[in-house]
Symmetry: C2
Subunit: 220 residues, 2 copies
Amino acid sequence: MKKILIIEDEEIVANELCNLLNNSGYETFLLEDFKDAKEEILKKSPDLILLDINIPYKNGCLLLQELRKESAIPVVMVTSRNSETDEVLSMSYGADDFITKPYNPNILLLRIAAVLKRSGSFSEIQTYKELEIHLQKGIIKREGKEVILTKNEMIILNYLLSHQNKIVSRDELMTDLWNNDEYINDNALTVNISRLRSKLKEVGYPNAIETRKKVGYILS
Amino acid sequence: MKKILIIEDEEIVANELCNLLNNSGYETFLLEDFKDAKEEILKKSPDLILLDINIPYKNGCLLLQELRKESAIPVVMVTSRNSETDEVLSMSYGADDFITKPYNPNILLLRIAAVLKRSGSFSEIQTYKELEIHLQKGIIKREGKEVILTKNEMIILNYLLSHQNKIVSRDELMTDLWNNDEYINDNALTVNISRLRSKLKEVGYPNAIETRKKVGYILS
DNA sequence: AAAAAATCTTACAGTTCTGTAAGATTTCAT
DNA sequence: ATGAAATCTTACAGAACTGTAAGATTTTTT
């Protein structure tokens, strides 16, 4: 259950927000001002902070700015309509999103969900067609079938994946793999590609990596 | 140089957008309607698509929906004010963000930059204090000094990192590492933590991982 | 059609990874 | 303070990883 810290001084708005979020399956805490914010954040370690930009004692942007020095907790700013300067400011201070008051509840929920999804997306699962790719664990999965990739195979697959629909040159891949520190047999890449291919074949994608002779490879 | 595909039928708006983005260092292509969108996307492989929801022949949401079946290219929807339904729809179809017309150019640029940053954040660098952590490559760096981590060490560090300020139990870590498939010597975790610690020490963080006896570990 | 170039596959051996075990150290409860 | 429990460290050996080499295939060039 995801925890959301709401920092909002207008009681009516705050209660509305709490209710809305609670009903959507979030756990909420409320702070009415900035005073104990840092301590509370450490103690409760929320998954997301919903921060009104106009809180007493301190501008929300400042809190955001301080917070960002030590934490990457996702922050969604709540701003008033027509205060576009605030929006610009909060984005550049590292807010993950912002909502203008008065907000549409559905949009608020969707945006919060989107931010949470993103923020968890490190160490999360990427997909290619029906394939699940678990970046760090180095496993790929399809319909229950699971294959373990080595680090090199993972680096190659990830590089291809993040350049989908682009042809990736052998040099690019070699730089990504070995940084050209020392000379490495140019065939080492071919071998690693070959190994990756045979693993992709095991999960039903025998032709995922296409060779474009004299140019490079592409994820089809 | 990042490439942005603009799908927009109002010529004035389209030109404005192109100019704005070109001046900010993006390369732009323009499509006025949906017709050749899919082909064009494949051919040009833009880094981001700016999609007006009201384009001729087809609703932008439908294009988005189709696109999402085969590609994860970031999409920012352009909607008209007061069409909140559209916003809800486009978010749930997988838009990465949306902008309402008339838009503030600065905000548009910031949002585009934010979306691009996120979308590239797979395979990117995470940080902990002054430490750079390269997820897949399994290396950590500080002030030029670089240490190679093994897969297990990386999994542990990443888990701790994504639960900063939370105590992480030994069970959680063991589940993350081995999924409890088979019995694994409970000491294996301790050994891996120990190895990770000695590598963190090498880059100047000897006490990054604190033991909370009988509870777990925490990244200080 | 033949030769050259590019890419692929397989097997191998040195290196790295990693769970185990055994004993050391730290913390906690009494 | 003392013993028990929890955690830590080190060394080790089997397993996995990975670059090399040698030869096979495919594509391109002449």
